[in-house]
């Protein structure tokens, strides 16, 4: 095994770096910039049962050391994802991919997950119960332990592949939500999704985002994410996938020292299309600097 290799729910990863859902499309946009087979895997664009256009624009605002988005789960719907996007993805990425799923009802989560569970390319199902930008769904499942457990049980009942529940940071006690998911059968948890935020345009005196609020991501949220990964890692025994503002090899190491078995990289992909390749490329030297022989030794919870 290489110095960088880890495993996630029994599946090997060449390295722990996973582009996060919503920042990497279905992979082929990035395949024009580099060979994306250097990634551990990636989590594809959040998929729902039906097609969604998402929220009106502007959907993007900048903030100090980060950005705010209110895209609202734009995606072509699971049938077209399977018929059109996965074949295109397969041409450029030859490892198991992480399928990211959102929903507005238990039934919708179940239907979408069951369909993607049957796809050979899919290695893991990452179930998003934390999208802050859709109304009447998404995050509302992720802010209550009982509701989070219900989604977990519902998805586990219709799938065979590892189920990773993606958690919202917009809660009082994220460890309680993670524990509820674990007790309901989740194979892993990933965190954090974006933090709710907003900006106002001084000239127009109106919110920059048409949706008024959005999700903050980027280096600004890294310390918050790290703290939550630390807390969750001490509350559950299942693997934790850490994310939130990671943009350097050092951030990866720090997140793994906090308890993450693997990491997702989000906003960094949007400002530098080569970000993940650079992070992976820089890991060995960063490990040397801190006397880390292999990454597996960091995962010691």
């Amino acid at each position: 095994m290489g110095r960088l290799s880890v495993e996630l729910c029994g599946l090997p990863l060449d390295n722990p770096v996973i582009p996060a859902s919503g920042t990497f499309g279905f992979g082929y946009e990035f395949a024009e910039w580099y060979d994306i087979n250097c990634l551990g895997t990636f989590s594809f664009k959040g998929t729902t049962r039906e097609a969604r256009f998402g929220n009106p624009t502007p959907r993007i605002a900048e903030c100090p050391s980060g950005m705010i988005n209110a895209v609202g789960l734009q995606n072509p719907g699971v049938d077209r994802v399977i018929a059109e996007e996965l074949p295109k993805l397969k041409r450029v990425f030859h490892k198991p991919v992480m399928a990211n799923v959102s929903g507005f009802s238990l039934q919708e989560y179940q239907e979408t997950c069951a369909l993607l569970d049957q796809e050979e390319q899919v290695g893991w199902l990452e179930v998003n119960i934390s999208c802050p930008n859709v109304h009447g769904g998404g995050m509302s499942f992720g802010t209550d332990p009982a509701a989070a457990a219900e989604v977990t049980r519902a998805v586990k009942a219709v799938t065979h592949k590892p189920v990773i529940m993606k958690l919202s940071p917009n809660v009082t006690d994220i460890a309680a939500i993670a524990k509820a998911c674990e007790d309901a059968g989740a194979d892993a948890v990933s965190l954090i999704n974006t933090l709710q935020g907003m900006r106002i345009d001084l000239r127009t005196r109106r919110p920059v985002l048409q949706n008024v609020t959005g999700g903050v991501s980027g280096p600004a949220v890294f310390p918050v994410a790290l703290r939550m990964v630390w807390q969750v890692s001490r509350a559950v025994r299942i693997p934790v996938v850490g994310m939130g503002g990671i943009s350097s090899p050092e951030d990866v190491l720090e997140m793994m020292m906090a308890g993450a078995s693997a990491v997702e990289v989000g906003a960094a992909n949007l400002t530098d299309p080569l970000a993940c390749r650079k992070i992976i490329g820089g890991l060995p030297a960063a490990m040397d600097r801190y006397g880390i022989e292999n990454l597996r030794e960091l995962i010691n919870r």
């Binding site: 919503g22 920042t23 990497f24 499309g25 946009e29 990035f30 024009e32 910039w33 664009k45 256009f53 998402g54 009106p56 624009t57 502007p58 959907r59 993007i60 605002a61 900048e62 903030c63 100090p64 050391s65 980060g66 950005m67 988005n69 895209v71 734009q74 920059v208 980027g218 280096p219 906003a267 992909n269 949007l270 400002t271 530098d272 299309p273 080569l274």
Partner: protein, 251 residues
Amino acid sequence: MKETLLTITGNIPLTANVYRLSLRGEGLELHRPGQFVNIALAGRFLRRPISVFDQEGEELRLIYKTVGAGTDQLSRMRTGEKLNVLTGLGNGYDLSRAGEAPLLLGGGAGVPPLYLLARELLKAGKTVHAVLGFNTEAEVFGEADFRALGCEVTVVTADGSHGRKGFVTDAFPENYSYFFTCGPEPMLRAVYRTAKTDGQFSFEERMGCGFGACMGCSCRVKDPEHPGEIRYKRICREGPVLEKGEILWDA
């Protein structure tokens, strides 16, 4: 599409808040007029998308308007400083439909991408008429550049302080084979209503990435192949140029 490091060779004001930025470097990868570049600025998380005014070999010229803290910062950068730039973004204009006498309609900060377009159209032997619209004389730029290329140029100002008084839609010539336009949305809507031929529109939108990953700049379009069906396009990727026949204006 390419990430490249470019050196500033000039950054001069053309008006009170419009600057011409000259850059030099390898790997510009620009294939069509109307494409744009996305510039990283120190201390700013998101890049700033700027349309291309002109490109020749390793020389790139951009004209941008200062509209906020990021472009203000850019305007203070000096010759010799370097910029990390993603180049060759967006679809650009499709010149194949221009016909023999294309009309170019630019408004304010929408004028720059029409320059390289005009140059390419003239090179292809077309007769090019450019109508450039501004609010007032102090905001006019580019007029001499377009004339030097060999275009017929009409300048209009809303207050009549320079050129003809009025809007670009008041200066449509009698005859033209096709049109290309770029400018603020109210102008684009007026052009859409006024134009008698087909044409192409270049749009602006707040972008996250500029290369199709974040879905931040999506818009709805009509599908000309399937009447009644609506699809989406990303302004940064399948745009910024849209054909007249596919545009769906938001209410």
